[in-house]
């Protein structure tokens, strides 16, 4: 129980910091002076204190969506084993349900964007759904490969099995790792697919979705975006670098798992910033190709597992 509460709390606190860390590294790699690591917290603080303006034509759905999205992401962070594999919430939702939770959040943010009826919102929603429907099968395939290796679809027991056995090289996990990286970039609106800092009207995907939000609604969505990135990074860390998690509900093991998690996240942040720096944003019509590659890698991972048994 402690581990579950601590895990959600850590996710809520660390997620904006991860965002700030990545932004800082991006700035450093581009020879700019970096914003403070705490900048995302300040943005959230500012937005929470601002008045929230809602369009006249908005339906209640528009007001509910930020809370739903935030709730979905917080739930996802609770399911993914970040600190411990001994999670009371883990049996409630396996890896497939986790993908469903992400899909639920996506559907609601797309509906809310279309609700206002501006052309940008609709365009963003359509693009977001296109990326989503291409990325989801790839993500599922990645999770299936891990499930086949460990004979379980529950993330907690996958991680438990992977971490507690003797070190084995899985070529199939190499493929699914590559696929997962592509999915992560696409799902979190990172550079080759979407530029998270752009407000250039024709190229934006994610920003177009949340264009109409302001004040506390926007703050919740920004926080949810950070949580999503956090959740994805933690899924990656859990599947491909499963070491250092607490196996039992012991406080001292949790204390040890926290620094390990921070180190993993810091490394992942630097890698993400580097990928975003060396790549250029691609045209939207290249995105299906990008995600087809991810799907292909994930399918090959399955095949390699079947052939080599590893």
């Amino acid at each position: 129980m402690i581990s579950q509460l601590l895990e959600i709390l850590v996710a809520l606190i660390l997620a904006p910091l991860l965002m700030g860390w990545i932004n800082a590294w991006r700035a450093w790699l581009q020879n700019k002076s970096a914003p403070s690591l705490l900048q995302p917290y300040r943005t959230l603080h500012k937005l929470f204190h601002k008045e929230s303006v809602v369009a006249e034509t908005a339906m209640p759905l528009f007001r509910i969506a930020p809370y739903l999205v935030f709730g979905c992401m917080a739930l996802a962070c609770g399911i993914v084993p970040t600190l411990s594999t001994d999670l009371p919430m883990a049996p409630a939702a396996d890896a497939i349900a986790l993908v469903g939770v992400f899909a639920l959040a996506r559907v609601f943010s797309a509906l809310a964007a279309m609700d206002i009826g501006t052309s940008f919102g609709t365009m963003g929603a359509r693009r977001e759904m296109m990326i989503g429907f291409l990325a989801e099968p790839a993500l599922l395939m990645v999770l299936f490969t891990a499930s086949l290796i460990t004979r379980s679809t529950s993330l907690a027991s996958i991680v438990h099995t992977l971490a507690s056995q003797k070190f084995v090289i899985y070529p199939s996990l190499l493929f699914s790792g590559a696929a997962f990286l592509l999915v992560l970039l696409a799902e979190n609106a990172r550079v080759p697919v979407d530029n998270p800092t752009t407000h250039l009207e024709l190229t934006m995907i994610h920003e177009a979705l949340i264009l109409e939000y302001s004040g506390r609604h926007l703050a919740l969505i920004e926080w949810a975006v950070a949580l999503k990135l956090f959740a994805y990074t933690c899924i990656g860390a859990a599947l491909f670098f499963p070491w250092g998690l607490a196996q039992a509900n012991a406080p001292e093991a949790l204390l040890l798992a926290l620094p390990v998690l921070v180190v993993k996240l810091a490394a992942a942040g630097v890698v993400l910033a580097m990928i975003e720096t060396v790549n250029a944003k691609m045209r939207i019509f290249r995105v299906p190709e990008f995600l087809a590659t991810a799907f292909l890698l994930a399918v090959i991972a399955l095949l390699v597992h079947v052939l080599l048994g590893a």
Binding site: L174, E289, L307
Partner: protein, 219 residues
């Protein structure tokens, strides 16, 4: 240690497969050459590991030959060719990469099924990877078919040879030394001749697009 090394053969095999897929989807000629170099290096590493595990020292020599010919000599030659032809930064217009990729998956499944009964007969340490070697072979073949420009086609040919080499190492712990030496020099000579061909094609048609070769005479 021994166990980890024998698992690393599978890892190298998987990397070969990734590299071939990357080659198929890569538009830039320069990147394709880089990928070919990586493929050669992976091949060298896996040959050394197989040689170490089976105690067959002639595999070290064949790894050395591979290193010299496929990782150093041929990439240098290719770089010089694309410099001379001035196609270093060329981008090939590939149509329909997702479809090619899907066909690629079908090829991989086919190769895996084909290799299963053969691999059961083999006693070699890396027999599981025979399916991957066959898949790489078929994919390189597809790369030769799907590309229109001469340089990527040549690289497809070379990558096919690499896969055959890997298949030999996987199925029978390597071919006799004399055969390997012969193949290595054949490939080298092939590259030189193909290089001359590329210049000739360029002279004739002002382009490396081999579709021009299908026309018999000027209209």
């Amino acid at each position: 240690m021994h166990l980890l090394l024998s698992q690393s053969i599978n890892l190298f095999a998987a990397m070969l497969l990734i590299v071939v897929f990357a080659m198929i989807s890569q538009r830039r000629i320069l990147r394709v050459i880089h990928l070919f170099t990586v493929q050669g290096a992976t091949l060298v590493a896996s040959t050394i590991v197989v040689g170490y595990l089976t105690g067959q020292h002639h595999l070290y020599y064949s790894a050395a030959v591979t290193l010299i010919v496929k990782v150093i000599l041929i990439p240098v030659l290719l770089h010089r060719v694309i410099d001379r032809l001035n196609v270093r930064w060329d981008v090939e217009t590939l149509i329909n990469i997702p479809t090619t990729m899907l066909i690629g998956i079908v090829l991989v499944v086919f190769a895996f099924n084909l290799a299963l009964p053969i691999a059961k007969l083999s006693l070699s340490i890396a027999r599981g990877t025979l399916g991957i070697a066959l898949a790489c072979f078929l994919l390189s073949f597809m790369m030769m078919i799907s590309r229109a420009k001469a340089v990527p086609q040549v690289i497809g040919f070379l990558s096919m040879e690499n896969s055959l080499f890997f298949a030999a190492a996987a199925a029978t712990n390597g071919m006799p030394m004399i055969v390997e030496l012969g193949i290595a020099f054949d490939v080298l000579a092939g590259i030189l001749i193909l290089g001359v061909f590329m210049f000739q094609i360029r002279e004739q048609f002002d382009s490396l697009d081999i579709r021009h070769l299908e026309k018999l005479k000027e209209d």
